[in-house]
Point group: C2
C-alpha cells in the first residue's frame, strides 16, 4: 500500500526531507509554504505540487510533516486538517505535547543533521529520533522512519532537547569557529583552502579516538606562552579574544 | 644522493613526521627524546635508532628537525651540533629568528594538521609551510618538503602565527566542542556515535559552502526561544552556558 505525505515548510530540513521521502517511494502529495515565491521555488526544484494557500492542501494524506521554524510551528499546527492522519513535527527542542487536541495522532521525527538546501547528502545515514502519541502511531512513524534512514531511535522530548543542544555545540558552534578561522587565515593573505585538511582530519579523528583523547593544542598542553601570543594577535578582535580565553580555560580544566 | 635527517622529539608531530620521512625515502639516522622511556618507545615503533643522550646524535645528517613543544625548543636548539647542516623547527608560533648563531642555516617546516600518535593519516595531504634563513636553504627545505607532501607554501613567521591561531579555532576548539557535545549526549543516555554523521557532515559542508553560508541553527535564525531553553538546560554547567552565550552572540552579529 502506497504511503502518502504532505510536507509543510520549504526550508533546509523540508527540502532534504521531501527529497528523502520521494527517494524512498513515499508519494508526496503537496508542499506548503506561506510565501508564494518559496512555494513556487519548492515545486520547481522537487517536482511536487505546492501551495501557499492552506485550504488547497489535500486532506487524505497518511502523514503531515511540519518542518518549519520553531516560531512558525504553533501557527501551522493550529490549522485544522485531516484529524485522523498522523501529524509529525521535526523540531529538536519542542515536545510532543505541543500538538493541539484536533491532532490526536501525532509524533516527532527529528533528523539529527545539518541541512543546507544546496548541499546534497545521503539521508539514509541521518540518525532519526522518533516519538509518538500512542503505541500504534509509534509503529507507523517507525515504519516511515525506516523507509527514510538506517538508524531510527525512540527518544522522549527531554532526550531530544539534550540532543539538539549537543548538536548546537557539535555543529552550529563548530561551523562558527570555522568562520572565525576563515577570517583569520584570509586576513593573513592565505586562502581558506589551507585549513580544509585540518578540519576534515579533526572530524575524522573522533571516529578513532574519543574527543577527550583527541584533544591537541596549546590549551591542553597548558602552554601559557602560546596562549598569551594568541591573545595579543587577537587584540583587534575582542569578541574572538573572549571566545579564545573561555574555550582555552574550559579545555585546561576539562 | 640520499637525504638524511635526525628528528628531535618523539611526540605526536615527531612521530608522524618520522613516518613521513621514512615513507618518502629519507634516511632517518636517529631520534632523540630527553626521556629514556620515550626514546625507547619511539625506536620500537619506528624502527629508527634513538637516544636520550644528546652526545650520541650523529653530526653528519643533512637536516635536523626539532619537533618538540615550544617550551622545550630553546633548550634543544641551544645544543651545539652540526653547524653546517640545516636545522628546522616545526612550531607554528615561533619565528625563525629563534635559532642561535651557531645554526646559521635554519628554517621552519610547519605542518598545518592535528596529529595524534595512534591515529594514522596521509601525510601527503598535509599543507606544509616553509621558511628559511637564505635562498639556498629555502631551496633545500622546499625539496625536502615536496618529498613529504603535495602542498608546500612559503610563508613568513607572521603569517604562520596567524595560521596557527586559525588552526586553534578550527581544530583544537572544535574538538573541545565535540567533547562538550559528547558529555551532553551521554548524560541524556545516548551514545556519542549518534553525533558522528552530524560532525562529519558539518566538516564536509565547507567543501561546498563557505562557513558563513553553511551556518545553521538557532543563533543564526536569532531564535530567542530556543536559545533561552538551551541556557536553562545548561544550568548545571555554568562554563558551557558562558560558551553558549558568547558563541551565539558572535554568530548573531557575524
Amino acid at each position: 500500500m502506497e504511503t502518502t505525505a504532505v510536507v509543510v515548510g520549504t526550508g533546509n530540513v523540508a527540502t532534504h526531507l521531501t527529497r528523502a521521502l520521494l527517494n524512498s517511494g513515499v508519494r508526496v502529495l503537496m508542499l506548503y509554504s506561506r510565501t508564494k515565491a518559496h512555494a513556487e521555488e519548492a515545486a520547481l526544484s522537487s517536482g511536487v505540487p505546492s501551495t501557499y494557500n492552506w485550504r488547497e492542501l489535500p486532506a487524505d494524506a497518511d502523514f503531515y510533516i511540519y518542518a518549519v521554524s520553531d516560531s512558525a510551528l504553533s501557527t501551522v499546527l493550529a490549522q485544522e486538517l485531516a484529524p485522523a492522519a498522523i501529524h509529525l513535527h521535526t523540531a529538536g527542542s519542542i515536545g510532543s505535547e505541543f500538538f493541539p487536541q484536533h491532532k490526536p495522532r501525532h509524533g516527532v521525527l527529528y533528523p539529527l543533521q545539518t541541512f543546507s538546501k544546496s548541499k546534497p547528502l545521503d539521508f539514509r545515514s541521518v540518525p532519526l529520533f522518533i516519538e509518538a502519541s500512542s503505541a500504534d502511531v509509534l509503529a507507523e512513524v517507525n515504519r516511515l522512519a525506516l523507509m527514510l534512514a538506517d538508524k531510527v531511535y525512540e527518544s522522549d522530548s527531554q532526550q531530544r532537547r539534550h540532543l539538539h543542544l549537543a548538536a548546537v555545540f557539535a555543529c552550529n558552534f563548530v561551523n562558527h569557529l570555522y568562520a572565525i578561522a576563515d577570517e583569520l587565515v584570509q586576513s593573513s593573505g592565505l586562502p581558506f583552502e589551507v585549513l580544509r585538511p585540518l578540519i576534515v582530519e579533526t572530524a575524522s579523528k573522533i571516529e578513532f579516538l574519543s574527543p577527550r583523547d583527541a584533544q591537541t593544542g596549546p590549551a591542553v598542553r597548558r602552554d601559557e606562552s602560546v596562549l598569551q601570543k594568541h591573545l595579543e594577535l587577537l587584540s583587534d578582535h575582542p569578541a574572538y579574544q573572549k571566545i579564545y580565553e573561555l574555550i582555552s580555560r574550559s579545555i585546561s580544566g576539562f
